[in-house]
């Protein structure tokens, strides 16, 4: 379960900028939520805030009952490692690891190795349609396949929360549709909650709930309202 209460975030620097204030959100386990908004509005910052990668200026961020703001960097990292999975627009698959090794990364970070890890990786790759491609190198894969690897990596360690940032931003429409369906299907199957940042109507349409991000917080909307 994810709960954000009156969260505010601003960026310092040469031109200080208030990203959002008074932002509240509650996502129950198994819920699939999309956050939409124009480019630069702070969707990625919101995801980073939930992940504990960006500190908030005000408010609380509670994930699975834990207020991440009160954890040190080491503890936040461990928490993120165990409870969260990530899907990025640019895939971020390590080119020097095989497909299986990329998917196994979160397990290795948790200290899970050997046959048990291999079985989980194998099952996850089967689930995303990449069964038999364990030994392939990333350069041999298409964009859609790379995003499937990223989805497998996000779910292989059975997180309670999946954060996806523009997961179809680098894909053609047909591949994007397949990935949207796959992401929802696998996340739902895992029982995890998911928060997706997107400006894609198709991605938003796959969500249980859709919010528009603005400076004054999140406002409920629907995929149909997305231009």
């Amino acid at each position: 379960m994810v709960e954000l209460r009156d969260v505010a975030k601003a960026f310092d620097g040469s031109s200080p900028r208030q990203i959002f204030t008074g932002l509240s959100l509650r996502v129950e386990p198994g819920e699939y939520v999309a956050v939409v908004g124009a480019s630069g509005v702070g969707k990625s910052t919101l995801l980073n805030t939930i992940a504990g990668l960006e500190a908030v200026d005000a408010g609380d961020v509670i994930v699975d009952g834990v207020d991440c703001a009160h954890l040190d960097d080491e503890a936040r990292t461990t928490f993120r490692r165990d409870r969260m999975g990530f899907v990025f627009q640019a895939f971020h698959v390590l080119p020097y690891l095989s497909v299986a090794a990329n998917v196994a990364l979160p397990l290795a970070l948790q200290g899970l190795h050997g046959e048990a890890a291999d079985a989980r990786v194998h099952a996850m790759l089967e689930a995303v349609g990449l069964g038999g491609r364990e030994a392939s190198a990333p350069r041999e894969l298409s964009g859609g396949e790379l995003q499937r690897v990223a989805i497998a990596r996000a779910l292989v360690h059975r997180p309670s929360l999946v954060l996806a940032d523009e997961p179809t931003g680098n894909l053609d429409p047909q591949t994007a549709r397949q990935i949207v369906a796959l992401l929802r299907e696998t996340v739902k199957a895992s029982g995890a909650a998911a928060v997706l940042a997107t400006h894609s109507r198709a991605v938003a349409a796959s969500a249980d709930r859709v919010y528009r991000l603005a400076k004054d917080g999140l406002h409920p909307t629907s995929a149909a309202d997305i231009e």
């Binding site: 990668l53 960097d73 993120r80 990025f88 640019a90 970070l109 964009g143």
Partner: protein, 849 residues
């Protein structure tokens, strides 16, 4: 209509021009960016190599010009020069030569290295017949207030340079040593040349009389009659001359001297080229890593229509710009270094090959062009592979930026081992014109091949390591295994510089240890005496007195002189010493087998390695030596090591030399003391006898050894500094490459931070990568350095200087060097990792290319 068409054509041209400018901006943006960072280091490295090379060239050029100018002054208008051994030849030859139909003027000269009371170095004094010298060589004519002074036996006429060196003026006295006695000479004027060369002139009879050269000449300068055929006269006179006396144009003696120092000069130039090689490796690393980083940009440009050929030209052009800047800076720096070196150390950089006055570097256009071309050429060559890599990358794949490694040609490893094999083969080839050109080529090939072999060799080694469970370690190894081309590029400069430092360290240690071993063999006595040069010697009576000094159990004496064995080379040192032919190894450092000539065979001589190499002789061979005006047959009884006399030396039994030459004086002595005798007491007794400690220098073997090793260390100090500079440049290059790569991988670290890798784990991963990289670099450098050291010891030194030496590896120093490099590289990697794992990396996962 025509106007509209022309306008449209203009618009078309403008659009094309604008597009081309956009492309140019995109590509040169890389250059501008590069010049701000890592490439600056490559420019510095190129500048370092060019500066060293150009400085050495300027100094060499100044040295040879000075020497030739001095010799030209001393030779004057002579067409030919008769010269003999240092001990001279019979003056009765003079009338024979002077009467030759082709000779217009013959000017006899006696050259003596005179020992001075107040200076360690001797002064060359030339005894001349002032009337004849005036017709050939004004530089040897005394300029005196009273003309009759030129004929007085106590009158000395120093050159301007000698007067400055001695600090004397007209009217002052100069105390010189003749035998064991002081002689006061009066400065009566100047030698008539305005050059700074250091010599003095006296009346010929005075020199013969005062310095025991009665009836001897060392040189006769000849001016030929108008229309005389110089070659015919030379041939005719040569037939009249006894063995060991030669007639040749004066330029040949300059050639012999410059030839003698040539190997030293070429070696210095090669050392500079080595620095340039390190610079080229840095350019290679910079350009390769930059090409990988800009691969998507290049791919875009290729997609937009930039031809492969043009892209190659762009990347090579970038290299040329780096090379040109480096060469420009290097040339200016080289000129400054040369000016300072000439002012501080003189034209021979303190090597002692020849004596010359103040010299200034002369910037010759040809030299400037050559060194500029070397700097630019090195950078262009180093950019060729990266340019190929940039152009080869398939645009579609490159746009995805998924392949992290440098694309190496498939045949790289085969080419690498071929270069190494050919390099080792070349090490066995003989010198060309006495220069170890194949040795140098072998070193270049082995270094290049060694660097090209790193990717495959390292990948093979890394693949043998089982994947560890610790994530930082396993990720670090996975990254290194997958990117051999990239890390080989990063390591190129550091491998080259470490290899060169290691090779020089092994060579210098081997040389130093061999010198130490040699000193132990050649200094078996308790006390060594040296009277000095030509003018200072020990007569038979002196020898008797010294041998009879209380406390002296045994005395052995040695006459040091020199003879002409080959007219095209400097004189060879002849050491007439007390030596037992059945146990020669007790006095000289024999190498290889030695023999005792059979009964009836010519008597023995022992030759140094230099003479053995130059005359192609081994133990048992026959040779003739010009002694006492005739050729005498000898048997080479053995070859010995002589680090003191690079021009070569020959040992002959003193009794035999005395019988052949009639010369019974000696310059040096070795004393073995009685068990209860004190070194100090014997020294005092010698000083009392000779009238002062300066007249006969008495040194213990320990002090001679310390002095020799201190001189050795001083000579090689500059080399150490140059090597250290090369390694620092290489290491900074590696550090800069590591830092740049870390920054380039920030999105990777951002992803790893997202999925739960701690900053410490990422830092550990990068530190491990840095450590493994440094370990590979140091290991490759050590292996290549060892191989190169064998070539330096057994090929380059042997062929350049004819010095044999045994291999000694400074294990401790090398281990220390390896540890320092490992620690530094690891620390740099860890430091750059700390900068690369912050919030910027987290945000970088959003960045598109």
């Amino acid at each position: 209509m025509t106007g509209i068409a022309a306008r449209m054509r203009l618009w078309g041209d403008a659009a094309r021009w604008s597009a081309q400018r956009a492309v140019a901006r995109a590509v040169t943006g890389g250059l501008r960016e590069a010049l701000r960072g890592r490439s600056l280091l490559a420019v510095v490295a190129i500048a370092f190599g060019v500066a060293l090379g150009y400085a050495v060239e300027l100094v060499n050029h100044a040295a040879v010009s000075e020497l030739n100018a001095d010799l030209a002054v001393l030779a004057g208008n002579a067409d030919l020069e008769v010269r003999g051994p240092r001990s001279g030849f019979d003056e009765m030859l003079y009338p024979t030569i002077a009467r030759d139909a082709g000779v217009a003027v013959a000017s006899p000269v006696v050259e003596v290295g005179v020992k001075l009371r107040d200076h360690d170095e001797p002064l060359d004094v030339l005894g001349v017949d002032v009337f004849r010298a005036a017709q050939i060589n004004p530089a040897l004519v005394a300029v005196a207030r009273e003309r009759v002074d030129a004929l007085r036996s106590d009158a000395l006429f120093p050159s301007t340079g000698a007067a400055q060196w001695l600090g004397v003026d007209v009217g002052d006295s100069v105390i010189v040593q003749a035998g064991l006695h002081d002689v006061a000479l009066r400065v009566a004027g100047r030698a008539g040349a305005d050059r700074a060369g250091r010599y003095a002139v006296m009346d010929i009879a005075a020199v013969q009389d005062r310095f025991d050269r009665g009836g001897r000449l060392t040189r006769i300068d000849l001016r030929l009659r108008a229309g005389a055929n110089a070659e015919a006269v030379q041939k005719r006179l040569q037939a009249l001359l006894p063995p060991g006396v030669d007639v040749a144009p004066p330029s040949s003696s300059a050639q012999a001297t410059t030839r003698f120092s040539r190997a030293y000069r070429v070696n210095l130039n090669v050392l500079a080229l080595v620095a340039l090689f390190t610079g080229a490796m840095l350019v290679y690393a910079t350009q390769t890593l930059s090409a990988v980083r800009r691969r998507p940009q290049f791919a875009l440009l290729r997609t937009l229509g930039l031809s492969r050929r043009r892209l190659v030209m762009w990347v090579i052009g970038e290299g040329a710009v780096l090379g040109a800047i480096g060469a420009g800076v290097g040339l200016a720096t080289g000129y400054l270094i040369a000016s300072m070196a000439l002012a501080r150390f003189g034209p021979d950089l303190g090597a002692g090959f020849f004596e010359a006055g103040a010299a200034k570097p002369a910037a010759e256009p040809l030299s400037i062009l050559i060194f500029a071309a070397l700097g630019i050429g090195a950078a262009v060559l180093a950019s060729a592979l990266p340019a190929r890599e940039a152009a080869r990358a398939a645009p579609a794949a490159a746009l995805k930026a998924i392949d992290a490694d440098v694309l190496l040609p498939a045949a790289t490893n085969r080419i690498a081992w071929l270069l190494i094999g050919v390099g080792f083969g070349m090490a066995f080839l003989p010198s060309i014109d006495e220069l170890p050109l194949f040795g140098y080529l072998a070193i270049a090939l082995i270094l290049t091949g060694g660097i090209l072999a790193i990717p495959a060799a390292a990948q093979a080694a890394l693949s043998r390591i089982r994947a560890p469970r610790a994530l930082p370690l396993s990720l670090a190894l996975a990254h290194l295994r997958a990117t051999p081309g990239r890390f080989a590029a990063m390591l190129a400069a550091v491998v080259a510089s470490v290899a060169l430092m290691v090779s020089m360290a092994i060579m210098v240690t081997s040389f130093r240890q061999s010198l130490d071993d040699w000193l132990r063999v050649v200094l078996p006595a308790d006390l060594y005496l040296r009277a000095g040069t030509d003018s200072a010697f020990l007569s038979p009576r002196d020898q008797q007195v010294i041998a009879a000094i209380p406390g002296v159990a045994r005395a052995e004496f040695m006459r040091v002189t020199s003879i002409i064995v080959d007219p095209s080379r400097p004189r060879v040192v002849l050491l007439a010493r007390d030596i037992d032919p059945h146990d020669a190894g007790a006095r000289i450092a024999l190498v290889g087998r030695d023999i005792v000539p059979a009964a009836g065979a010519p008597p023995p001589v022992w030759i140094s390695e230099a003479v053995a190499d130059m005359q192609h002789l081994t133990a048992g061979a026959a040779m003739t030596l010009p002694i006492g005006g005739r050729n005498v047959a000898f048997t080479v009884a053995g070859v010995f090591r002589d680090y003191a006399r690079q021009q070569g030396s020959i040992v002959i039994e003193r009794a035999r030399y005395r019988a052949l030459s009639g010369d019974d004086a000696v310059n040096e002595a070795a004393l073995w003391l009685a068990q209860d005798a004190s070194v100090a007491a014997v020294r005092d007794a010698i000083a009392r006898y000779s009238g002062g400690r300066a007249r006969i220098r008495a040194e213990t073997p320990a002090s001679l050894r310390d002095l020799s090793l201190a001189t050795f260390d001083r000579t090689f100090a500059v080399t150490y500094a140059l090597e250290a500079a090369a390694v620092i440049i290489g290491l900074v290059g590696l550090s800069a490459a590591l830092a740049a790569q870390t920054l380039a991988r920030s999105r990777e670290f951002g992803m790893l931070r997202h999925v739960g890798m701690t900053r410490r784990q990422i830092e550990a991963m990068l530190a491990i990568e840095g450590a493994v990289l440094a370990a590979i670099g140091v290991a490759a450098g050590l292996i290549q350095g060892f191989a190169v050291s064998l070539i330096l010891i057994h090929v380059v030194n042997r062929q350049s200087f004819h010095w044999g030496m045994s291999l000694h590896v400074p294990w401790l120093s090398l281990a220390l060097l390896a540890v320092v490099l490992l620690v530094l590289a690891t620390a740099v990697a860890a430091a750059s990792a700390r900068r690369a794992t912050g919030i910027a990396a987290v945000r970088a996962v959003r960045e598109d290319w």
